[in-house]
Amino acid sequence: MSLVPEIDFGTPASRATEQVALTIDGQTVTVPAGTSIMRAAMDAGIQVPKLCATDSVEAFGSCRLCLVEISGRAGTPASCTTPVAADMVVSTQTEKLKKIRKGVMELYISDHPLDCLTCAANGDCGLQDMAGAVGLREVRYGYEGESHTKQEKDESNPYFTFDPAKCIVCSRCVRACEEVQGTFALTIQGRGFDSKVSPGASSDDFLSSECVSCGACVQACPTATLSEKSLIEIGQPEHSVVTTCGYCGVGCSFKAEMRGEELVRMVPWKEGKANRGHSCVKGRFAWGYAHHRERVLKPMIRDSIDQPWREVSWDEAIGRVASEFRRLQEKHGRLAIGGITSSRCTNEETYVMQKLIRGGFGNNNVDTCARVCHSPTGFGLSQAFGTSAGTQDFDSVEQSDVILVIGANPTDAHPVFASRLKKRLRQGARLIVIDPRRIDLVRMPHVEADYHLPLRPGTNAAVMNALAYTIVTEGLANERFVREFCDRDAFEYWAAFVSEPQNSPEAVGLMAGVDPETIRGAARLYATGGNAAIYYGLGVTEHSQGTTTVMAIANLAMVTGNLGRPGVGVNPLRGQNNVQGACDMGSFPHELTGYRHISDDATREMFEKMWGRSLDAEPGLRIPNMFDAAIEGTFKGLYVQGEDILQSDPNTAHVVQALSAMECVVVQDLFLNETANYAHVFLPGSSFLEKDGTFTNAERRINRVRRVMTPRSGMADWEITLAIARAMGFEMLYRHPSEIMDEIAALTPTFAGVSYDLLDRVGSVQWPCNGKAPLGTPVMHVGGFARGKGNFLITEYVPTDERTGPRFPLLLTTGRILSQYNVGAQTRRTGNVVWHDQDLLEIHPHDAEQRGVRDGDWVKLDSRTGSTSLRARITDRVAPGVVYTTFHHPETQANVVTTEFSDWATNCPEYKVTAVQVSPSNGPGDWQKEYAEQARHSRRVAAE
């Protein structure tokens, strides 16, 4: 094994189609117009010395090391800032250039501490490499120059250090922060010899600055100035493996840089088609949970949840699962057990899990956490377009002219995509934000939304209808697109519906709390501003009308013709890494892989033949239905893989009641999570670093996940599922996850062309990938919809049953923040807690003052469902009447207050609308104290 090689071309690629031929060091080179001489040389295998240039940022021309000579031109121009020209003749190595470069390097080295042997970058240092490249043998100025070694290191960031002694002021970090990340946290302070990299104001360090710890600066730094602390501690890696991040639905590709089985660092992979070499604080740095001391590595069982856990062998644990599940089925019937697949697990793990349930349990009681996030996307888009997925790839945003973001907060929840989006906005694309909160995108450095619609939670469908009203009644519909690609009758019926007075901006604006002219302006911009793309998240789906709003979004894209080409489309931003894949893999109780209904005889028979089992044609229970059935007494056993339903699902007391009513709860996870407090069997799972398989991201991209270390518990997750199946008499024979994918491909038309061999050859593919699209499908619905004609559906606004009133006058909406992920099981066990160590309640100053609440005070949050206490953060990011919190910490359990109201079509819970009251409090409430005690009691492990 070795390090995966990456070539730094020095400057970004030109996208020009015109080709230019020139001569470099006697070689003829042909490159796109606009390419720098440096990049053209590298294309020909000629490395021009460089320090301030790297291909992730635009050329800067400051280090004066990459100088070249050009026939017929005076001087020695920098090759990074000089574009190629036809018939140009370039020399990269002449006596004159050699002399200049040596002189430049002498100046750099005279001001640099020569502690190379003990330097973290030893062996991977741009300065060291260039000293070698230019043949530096002496420094005429001596080595006694100002080396800044007395300057204090900035070690405030939990993951990297800033050592000013090593800085050569190349500005690569500053430019990466601006151009790649788009945060503008860094600058060069001072002039001349006093120049230094500075995060924010002079009083700031990296932690207190606006730095979001994405790692782009560390990646760009050519010296040890910005170094990962893990690298400093461990040393340089000796091999690397390309794999896929286990956090959000962006699905970033990383090189896991290793020393033996020890992970040194995660470095974003430039060839990754989702992230294009960028990363965020979670994927780049927050992987320490894999080795956290609370990680459980041995199987455990207990007879009741009052007892301490007892560590047992794998055989005993698997045997217990099988015997208990069989006992429950014999006593309570075939339908009395089920399972929940995980969007954090691979496609292959998810596939065998649903196969176990359908083929081994003999029922369809399988569901996935997508139930509680994007299930309305699957149903809504399938009805409108014929496919349960987003329409574009992430590259598409680079061709968007108008970007509409609704119910999503990309800078926090999908930060790497957000950086690409912000880059496009800085290039001039226009922005519409529809969100109850003033999310960062509304106004931040170099980004400002043209329109922000701060709608009242629960009114999404109405506002989308009002946008459609404006488009239709003002004659802005794309008649040609509708005529060619959509069902004409459905369009006319829908157009008449949205033109009704109750859908006008004036009527809707009053009810939704949005200025009608803002609605009209946003609609006009979306319809007429060029390529318009919609990006949406759980702020759309997690409502009683989640599916309706997804359909309304689809209507809006169709009526304006914003589908079927790059730059446009309907783009659900998936929360977890493999939400799309979990849905694709047949995790829903009514569907087999590829979204084919279980009642379809032909499809079911195909699976029956392959699996050697007869399958139930009836849909199974969805997660909320499982809870209800458990409380009713007809559902007795549950196998939960990689999900913490107790913390993530609504109305915690209801979930507790359901779990407590079951006789055998099996949890497969990394940690004793909150659900495990009510479990009888614990099976230790694997982190993404220990997995072999694939994840499918929000753009339908199937990416390889490659094992970089042995599963710490001794068994891979898919092997555990197979062992349970075997113990229950259902043999699944796979030697490797690639064989599972082969079976998926054989049974699923949209995956027919997918294989590990293909993924290893081309990197990744987006489904559909089959005979018609052997290398996948970046953009869907080109030249027509998957279902034939696009279907306009009536999206009548129906207010939620959750209402404010005198007792509960405020509306609570929940969400995420950048540094934490979902229920926090992973990120709470990393250095990320420095940014967010507790859930806070955002409340408007007006509402806070009315209640006598000051910033930082404990407050009690009451709803009709329950009550919890947390600290208040006073901010006008939320509108008066709206409060907001996150659900990352079990000490808070935000879902104690959320309700069981759910989406009409899919039962996706309505997390985003809960009527609440806020009042001053002295600290955690009784329920929190009791829960903490129960959790402590439940997590006891008996001594051997």
Partner: protein, 72 residues
């Protein structure tokens, strides 16, 4: 399962299908229930109908009648 919850969920489904173009709402609602509700949920709402069907909107009541016919 709680009849109250099932009635609420079924009525939600009804409110979507009633205004749709060219569909028989009762048929569309019944199809949705068949495709997405587990048999015990369907049995429970049929049982609720047999006890008078309190709270069911009319098209939903018609849909549940069709589910009852499925079981005949």
């Amino acid at each position: 399962m709680s009849s109250e919850k099932l009635v609420m969920m079924a009525n939600q489904i009804g409110r979507f299908f009633v205004p749709q173009r060219g569909v028989d709402p009762a048929a569309a609602i019944a199809t949705h229930l068949r495709k997405f509700w587990d048999p015990r949920m369907r049995a429970a709402i049929v049982a609720h109908l047999e006890k008078g069907g309190e709270g069911l909107d009319e098209p939903v009541r018609q849909a549940v009648l069709r589910l009852k016919e499925d079981r005949a």
